[in-house]
Amino acid sequence: MEERLKLASRAMQAGMLSIAVAGLVTANYTWLPASVLSLFISVIPSILRRDLDLVLPVELNFWIVFALFLHVIGGFSGFYDNVPGWDHLTHAMSASLIAALGFVVVVSVDKYVESIHLPQPFLALFIIMFTMAFGVLWELMEFSNDQLTGSRLQYDLNDTMVDMMFDAFGGFIVGIAGAHYLARTTPEHFVDSLRAEGAKEKISRFLEKRARSKGGK
């Protein structure tokens, strides 16, 4: 299963790369920045793994690449305009992705910050509100972009509200699934599986080194 997910992630990354190349070759630059940026974001987990030894769950890794891939291929192939509900699908995908990343961060914070303790029901509430808050920020970003540059990222009230409903939906799914997942494994085990301890040490060693080299000068 894990191998298959990894293979699928690689295939989608190859897809994004080919979209970038195709855009470059055919001088169709509209989606070039988005595809290059998405490709870059999709390799961040690998960079984290190489440099910090921080391991995100394979499923999460797959989800990141999948959400980015849907966004890029949707833009490139015109699915945003031609496939009804494509916009909402990508919204739900990216909302659940934000929720999942928020989940990873907040569980790590719960473990490593001494003065913070977050029981599971509160974690679920936190994730749901976090995702919605992010969705609101996103819509506000689109709105101000429309106001300032005259672009048309937001169509109308219906569209915005349905977007936000899908954001909420993604948040609910991840919030509840996350609390359920932790109920089975314990937060300690989850954070250990991220190998965040080693990453923390690497970061602090790096910071120490930098402080020392600065002091030496």
Partner: protein, 223 residues
Amino acid sequence: MGEKERVATSHFSGRRPDQLLEAQLSWIASLVLFFSTVYAVLKVDILWVVFGIAAICLYVLPIVTMRNPFRALPWEMTMLLSAPLLLHISAGARSMNERFAWWDDLTSLAFAFSLATIGFLLTVELQMYTDVRMNRPFAIFFVVMFTLGASGFWEVGEYVDDRVFGSNFLNSNNDAMTTLLWTLIGGILMGFVYDLYLRVMPKKRLSTFGLIHFYEVSKWRKG
């Protein structure tokens, strides 16, 4: 004369006049909140009923658990909680809305303040009654995030209300986005305010309310 009555009167004995005045202000504001919520129930205004009940619960919880009417929330917080509901139901507000363009922005800002207050009360009361623990930066982040998230759910709720029950909350995308923009501004502002709030409040006043903020009690450790 039962035992209970004597206990009840003892809460009042030895109170300074300013304490009594503060508590009375808070009770009055909470009555406004209560009757506005009753009004919203009679009007079947579901969203505001939910808002009112949530605010009343947060208000009543310390009073009931400590059996002391002086544990009422600080009056300024109670007023912030009840202001948007009062603005929403009063007929005067509606005519103001038609007369002044900025009235709508004002109510949005008042709403943001009350949402932030609910978020702040959540951080305080969750730490008082459950084993949730937060430090200061996390609590402030939670207040701002809660304000934004709750207003997002609120807008969606208004939209659904419009669609299902034919109410008329949201006229246009511009409308909804302006409200959200004001809640962003109000939320960040109140994040700063509540960061300072318990720090600058005099010790005596703080002890009357019995609001404990665990990040002030630095001894707490996990385990």
